[in-house]
Symmetry: C2
Subunit: 347 residues, 2 copies
C-alpha cells in the first residue's frame, strides 16, 4: 500500500492571482517576462508570488504550452572524460537558459539499438544534443522523426548544426612536431575503424597522420598504423604489438591520450626510455595527461559542449541557421616531457 501524501496542495497560479488582485493569465504573463504587462502590475504579481513562495508546475506549463523545457543529451559513455566534459559544458549553457538536462547514456545503460528503437526522448525534450556518435541512416531518421532541433558534438551530420575540432589538422600538427624533432620513423596507434563511437574521429586523425608524413616526403612505410580497441587497454595492446615487431619506431603518435597513457605504461615496464629511446604524443589533453607528462594536442572539450548547446538554444529561439552550421574550434599543441629528438640524429 502506497503511503502517498494526499497531493499536498501546492500554491497555484490562481492563489497568486487572487493575492495580487489580477487574473491568472496576468500572473502567467508577468512571471514569464511577457512585455505586455504594466510595470506596477508586474511588481505586484512578483511580490505576491514571492510572498506565497510560488513555484510554477512544470508539468502544467508543459502540457499547456507544448514545450517541455528539457533538452536530451545523448552520449555513448558518460564516464569517459571527454564526454563528461562535454556534458558539463552543455549543462552550463542549458541551465542558464532555463532548460533541464535529461541524460541518456546509450553505450552502457540502455544499449544503442534499444535506444533508437524505443526513442525514449519522444515527447520529453525540445531538442537533442548528440555527442560523438556516428549515426547510420536509420538512427538519423529516428532522431529526425522527433521533429526537434538536433545538434552534434564531434561528428558532422549533414546539415545539422554541430561543433568539433579539425581532427585531421590536429593530428597533422602532432606529427609535424615529431618531424621537426627529427623523427623519420613514426608509428600511429589508433582505435579500430569499425568502432561506432569514434569512427569519424579515428578516420580523420589517421588521415592527418598520413598526410603530414606524405607532405614531409617520407616513404609510405615510415608511417605504420597499429589499431586496437580504444582506451588505455587498447593503447597497451597496440604498443605491445609494435614492441613485438622487428623494427621499433622512434616516435609514436597515439590517437587519444588514453591510448598514449596505456602505451607509456607498457614502455615504462619494458624499461624503454621515453623520450630518450622513443617519443610519444597523444591527442585530447586529457586531465590525466600531466600525470604522464604527456605531450599532446589539446582541444577545448567543455567549450564544444557549450557551443553545441548554444546552437540548439538558437534553433529553439527560431533563429534560422546561416551558412555552414558546423563550428570548428582550434586545437593547440601542448609540449610536455614525452617528446624529444630521436636517439640517433637523422636527416
Amino acid at each position: 500500500v502506497v503511503t502517498r501524501t494526499p497531493a499536498r496542495q501546492h500554491v497555484s497560479i490562481t492563489d497568486v492571482a487572487r493575492r495580487a488582485g489580477v487574473s491568472a493569465s496576468t500572473v502567467s504573463r508577468s512571471l514569464r517576462g511577457n512585455p505586455h504587462v504594466s510595470a506596477d502590475t508586474r511588481a505586484r504579481v512578483l511580490q505576491a508570488a514571492s510572498d506565497l513562495a510560488y513555484v510554477p508546475s512544470p508539468a502544467a506549463s508543459r502540457l499547456a504550452s507544448g514545450r517541455t523545457g528539457a533538452i536530451g543529451v545523448v552520449v555513448p559513455f558518460s564516464t569517459r572524460w571527454f564526454f563528461s566534459e562535454v556534458i558539463v559544458g552543455a549543462e552550463s549553457a542549458l541551465r542558464t537558459a532555463g532548460y533541464d538536462l535529461l541524460l541518456y547514456n546509450i553505450g552502457e545503460t540502455v544499449g544503442r539499438e534499444l535506444f533508437f528503437a524505443a526513442m525514449p526522448l519522444r515527447r520529453r525534450v525540445d531538442a537533442v544534443l548528440v555527442v560523438a556518435s556516428s549515426l547510420d541512416a536509420d538512427e538519423r531518421a529516428a532522431l529526425d522523426a522527433l521533429g526537434v532541433p538536433v545538434s552534434f558534438v564531434g561528428t558532422r551530420q549533414g546539415k545539422h548544426p554541430g561543433v568539433g575540432v579539425d581532427d585531421e589538422a590536429g593530428a597533422a600538427s602532432a606529427v609535424r612536431h615529431l618531424l621537426l624533432l627529427g623523427h623519420t620513423d613514426i608509428a600511429m596507434i589508433s582505435g579500430e575503424p569499425d568502432d561506432p563511437i569514434g569512427r569519424e574521429t579515428t578516420a580523420a586523425r589517421q588521415a592527418g597522420f598520413t598526410r603530414a608524413l606524405r607532405e614531409a616526403h617520407l616513404p609510405e612505410r615510415a608511417g605504420r598504423i597499429v589499431t586496437a580497441r580504444w582506451g588505455v587497454t587498447g593503447g597497451m595492446r597496440a604498443i605491445e604489438e609494435l614492441l613485438a615487431g622487428a623494427r621499433l619506431p622512434t616516435a609514436v603518435f597515439a590517437e587519444s591520450d588514453e591510448m598514449a597513457l596505456g602505451a607509456l605504461q607498457i614502455l615504462r615496464k619494458a624499461g624503454l626510455d621515453v623520450p630518450g629511446r622513443l617519443s610519444v604524443i597523444g591527442f585530447d589533453d586529457h586531465e590525466m595527461a600531466p600525470v604522464g607528462d604527456l605531450t599532446t594536442v589539446s582541444q577545448p572539450v567543455r567549450e564544444q559542449g557549450l557551443r553545441a548547446a548554444t546552437l540548439l538554444l538558437a534553433a529553439l529561439d527560431g533563429q534560422p541557421q546561416q551558412g555552414d552550421p558546423f563550428v570548428v574550434l582550434p586545437t593547440r599543441l601542448v609540449v610536455r616531457g614525452t617528446t624529444a629528438p630521436p636517439p640517433v640524429a637523422t636527416g
Copy 2:
C-alpha cells in the same frame, strides 16, 4: 518570428480508445498494467496503441497523476571519475524502472549556494539522489522541504537511506598492507579537512590511517599527514612538501588515487624509485590506476550508484525502510606495482 509547427497533432489516448473500442480510462489502465482489466481488453488496447504508434504525453500524465517520473541526481562535479561512475550506476537502475534522470552539477554550473537557494528540483522530481556532499543543516532542510525521498552516496545523513563504503576500514587495510611489507615510517597525503565535497571521506580515511598505525604500536610521529587540495595537483603539492622535509618516509598512503597518481608523477620526475625507495598506495581503484601500476584499495563505485537508486525506488514504492538504511559495501586491496618492502629492512 518563431517558425514552430502548429502543435503537430500527436496521437492521443482518445485515438487509441476509439480504435480499441473502449474508453480512455480503460486505455490508461491497460497501458499502465492496472490489474483490473480483462486480458483481451488489454490485448486489444495494446494492439491499437501499437498500430497508432501511440506515445503517452509525459506532461499530461504528470499533471494528472502528480508524479513526475523523474529523479534528480545531484553531484558536485560530474566530470570526476567517481561521480560519473555513480551516475551511470544510478542511471541503469532508474532507466529500468522507467524514471528519467535529471542531472544537477552543483559544483561547477550553478554553484552550491545558488542551487540550495533556488532549489530547481522543486516540482520536477519524485526523489533525489545526492552524491558525496556533506550537507549543512540549511542544505539538508532545503532538501527535506522538497517532501520527496532522498538518498545519499558516500555520506551518512541522519536517518536517510544511503550507500557507501567503510572508508576508515579501507584506509586501515591500505596501511596494514604497508605495515606487513615492513614499513614503519608511513606518511599520508590527503585532502583538506574543510573541503565540503570530501570532508567526511577525508576524515574517515585519516582516522583509518591513524588507527592502523596505533594498532601496530608505532610511535605517533611515524604517521605524518600532509594535506593539500584534492586531486592530481594536490597530490603533487603534498608529495613535494614531503620531499622538501627532512626525513622521507618509506611509504605514502594517498587518500585518493588521483592524489597518488599526482605524487607518482613528481616522484618519477625527482628520480626516486617507486617502490624501491618509496612505496605508494592509493584509494578508489580509479580507471587510471593501472596506468600508474598503482596499488590501491578498490571500492565498487558504480554499484554504489545503483544501490542508492534502488533504495530510492523502494521508497517511492512505499516500502518502509527497516533498520539502518545505510548500506555499506566492501572494499578490496588491489596490489599492483607501487608497493614493496622498504629499502632497508626494519624490525
